[in-house]
Symmetry: C2
DNA sequence: CGAATATACGGAGCATCGCTCCGCTTGGCA
DNA sequence: TGCCAAGCGGAGCGATGCTCCGTATATTCG
């Protein structure tokens, strides 16, 4: 599912050698172009960088987002592969683990110029890119969240999807707006996560605490 | 400044009558189309809705964002015109005032389909749209923030621009992603604002509190 | 009231996208 | 070596933001 079964660069042994090579070349070229011009870079540029034609790009990656997904697959995998205890430290509290995972996620989004932006643009079927992130990362975030809730360290009224999208959103413009510090605002959000539950802020119930 | 001196619909008495009328027609048509198809709607559609040609649109509003700015000008004005005490209630604490202003800002962004998204897309000179919002609203937010800081109700390490962009970002996808509740996450962010300062969360200093 | 002229209009057209289509090239195999 | 399917390249399509300029008309002046 999620549209990115796109032959994964050099994995497929049944393809012709030039096809396999081109897929990898394309991946490298895309990574280079994305780093240089952001993930919004025209597909034509990527084709040119790789020294192939438009057709070749689209044969390997049927749609632009598929290419983006493929380029960042490794890093999403890394993020998805840390259910608990990033570095094996079991002494950390669940909330600490949550914090460090979120920090890594934030770094990832902030580092890749325009990735966070692309995650949300409704244009050109970028929803598959979004779906990829949601499918892979929401479960992990769900575990981290639940553990912190169970430990009584955070409020229980924030769902994994809410938090994931919120973090992704906060990272938008990180490299674009000079004065905006995305990481800092993610920190503030996490602080709010930790304190909303025990005492509701100011004695003033937020509003519309819909659903669980 | 900010590129939106664009004749303001019907204000200019020196223009030809048909020009004045068309400007207003365009504004109405744009509002209708934005409501129906989001602020990303093609300029051609707006021209068609208004029953005028492309040239007319661009003569009145030199660039797409200028049109968007003009359409939402009234509401931005309303937001900008409330330095303190939304409804004259002086008994509220500064933090309450901040909260209610932010709630109105959030409602505004969430209501207009795609406005929050458009605020951040780097494409097609949308930075003028962003500039408009920043110029008008950051000062107000600055006052609200400072008052709350002075009252000791919120942490002092969040600047107006940070908060404004953060809120705008959190509203992205409000109407697009079914499960995402933007308002709720804005609440969480505000909760973090209130609690980060006094006691740093868990005894564990967040991380990299880069330059106060 | 009727002509003159600046002002405004309309929409064809340009450049840039994402993506498709199809004739040509080339790798892999007998 | 020769065959043919897998693969390739890039012209081309439709959409979009924005420009340009010949045409229509509101306004003014005799």
């Amino acid at each position: 599912m999620s549209s990115a079964d796109t032959s994964q660069a050099g994995g497929d042994r049944r393809k012709r050698s030039d096809a396999r090579r081109n897929a990898q070349t394309l991946l490298d070229a895309a990574a280079a172009v994305f780093a240089r011009a952001g993930v919004d870079a025209p597909v034509r540029d990527i084709a040119a960088e790789a020294g192939v034609g438009m057709g070749t790009v689209y044969r390997h990656f049927p749609t632009r987002p598929d290419l983006v997904v493929a380029v960042f697959r490794h890093q999403v995998d890394a993020l998805a592969a840390t259910p608990t205890g990033a570095s094996g430290e079991d002494a950390e509290t669940p909330y600490d683990v949550l914090r460090s995972w979120v920090a890594r996620f934030t770094d990832f989004l902030v580092t890749k110029h325009g990735l966070a932006e692309a995650l949300h643009s409704d244009q050109a079927g970028f929803e598959s890119l979004h779906a990829e992130f949601v499918d892979r990362l929401v479960p992990v975030l769900g575990q981290l969240l639940q553990a912190s809730v169970d430990a009584g360290q955070i409020r229980a009224d924030v769902r994994p999807l809410d938090l994931m999208i919120a973090i992704g959103n906060l990272c938008i413009g990180a490299g674009t707006f000079p004065g905006y510090r995305a990481r800092h605002m993610v920190d503030v959000l996490l602080a709010g996560l930790a304190h909303g539950a025990p005492a509701s802020t100011d004695g003033d119930e937020p509003r519309a605490r819909t659903g669980s």
